[in-house]
Symmetry: none
Subunit: 249 residues, 2 copies
DNA sequence: GTTAACCGTGCAGAAACGTGCAACTTCGTG
DNA sequence: CACGAAGTTGCACGTTTCTGCACGGTTAAC
């Protein structure tokens, strides 16, 4: 293990877990804690993280340059994204839908893991390219102005040539009665087509989507493997949903 | 084992393992570590990797040449882009290749005109979406790290379903002898496939491309309808080119 | 206030590095 | 064919960098 690589690994852990525990990483990598501490010291000097007793934490958003802060999703979405990223097995192929939560996911994908990311969203594709070394496949098609996502017959056709393990689905409404819904008819069809080509579909359920309903149905609740939600949010609607589909928090 | 061959091997390892350990490769290839170190030094000078203690690592995504933030077009490219945009008839369907010049074009496309823009570049797609009301079609496929453009079999297939009036082709070399060339083999194939589906192809000839040659041929000069160049640049090579293909300035 | 875990510093051995040099190959030229 | 120039390769040497350990100080938790 090269020392520079170890630092990458540390940043990767920080990205994914939101913290670093020196002792644990030392055991994981089979090096002494001293080396880890030295790395952390240097990374802290470089402004990549803040050291704390026992390990390190990300730099608090308030201390970051403004341009970075402006592109951050809300904290709740960040938590959903972090939870969702945890569910990606190493070496797998995942589809990331368009949306702010998937954009947040793109920024916190594991660094080293051998991943393939498929997405119909140019913004997500660029974010993944910037933050990881994953293979990236973009689904082509007409770009919908509504959600900046590829759709239409071209996309549907392209989707038929793909398959993936996991689909992280973004919708605008998650409701026990109306199921999963979104605001654009074409988008709904594309999402369905993608889901049909993936082994499992997980819905990203950031705070404001729970209990909301949009115009066009995407999928029945029963067709998804789970809803990923913010671990800190409690909502009676969630309990209702939990009776029908696994809620991952 | 030739040194060039060894360098290819090194880049292969880097691509596959995400790292190079000098000692290990030296043993594998049966050469001294000194030679490996020398190769790594040269590859690092050429910008193909970053050296670290013990070996080498890939260039971090944030530092790559195609990074959108740092890729502000030069004034010369802006003039080429402006000239190129003038050549777009209202109501037409155009393909914008990837690259800084096409990115500049995307930002200065006419607002009202009823346009359809097709592109294999997520960055260009987003720029067009931000600056115009054009219909946008993305060509999907594997995203090449080299130029952040969709390519591979998926892109080739997607291209077959499209057709357009005008293709604004970006290359890295425009030379009277070697014709139009680019630095990535896959990219070259995708560009050819697109050109075959378009009525006319125009090459974007920003200053530094004129007289330059890259590794992989894209098209013969005779196959394009013209080269768009900076009106303010004069270059003897341009006169040579003008004898074979229209030069639009 | 006590205890255990964590931290910084100094140190020594090991590993990797850069440089200069000599032996060797390759290529073009007379 | 002989010759020399240019490039490549491996080795030797001194230097730099990394790593783990020991020691004493500091911090957090009970």
């Amino acid at each position: 293990m090269l020392s520079a690589q170890r630092k990458d690994h540390l940043l990767g852990i920080l990205h994914q877990d939101g913290r670093i525990i020196a002792k644990q990483v030392a055991v994981d990598l089979g090096v002494s804690e001293d080396s880890i501490r030295r790395d952390l010291r240097e990374l802290a000097d470089a402004g990549e993280l803040v050291r704390v007793y026992g390990g390190a934490l990300p730099i608090p958003p308030a201390d970051r340059p403004v341009d970075e802060r402006s592109s951050l999703a809300t904290e709740s979405k960040e938590r959903v994204a972090r939870r969702a990223v945890e569910l990606i097995p190493p070496g797998s192929t995942v589809v990331l839908d368009a949306g702010t939560t998937t954009l947040a996911m793109a920024r916190m994908l594991p660094h080293g893991a051998d991943l393939t990311v498929i997405t119909p969203s140019p913004a997500v594709a660029l974010a993944v390219a910037e933050h990881t070394e994953a293979r990236i496949v973009i689904i082509g098609g007409e770009l919908s102005r509504f959600s900046m996502v590829a759709g239409g017959p071209l996309a549907t056709e392209a989707v038929q040539h793909l398959s993936a393990d996991l689909f992280f689905l973004g919708v605008t409404g998650i409701d026990p009665v109306h199921g999963l819904t979104t605001g654009d008819l074409g988008d709904a069809a594309t999402k369905r087509a993608i889901a049909a080509r993936c082994t499992q579909t997980l819905v990203l359920g950031s705070e404001e989507k729970i209990g909301a309903t949009s115009r066009y149905p995407v999928l029945d609740l029963e067709r998804v493997a789970g809803i990923v939600v913010d671990p800190l949010v409690t909502d009676p609607v969630l309990d209702e949903l939990a009776a029908r589909v696994p809620v991952l928090r």
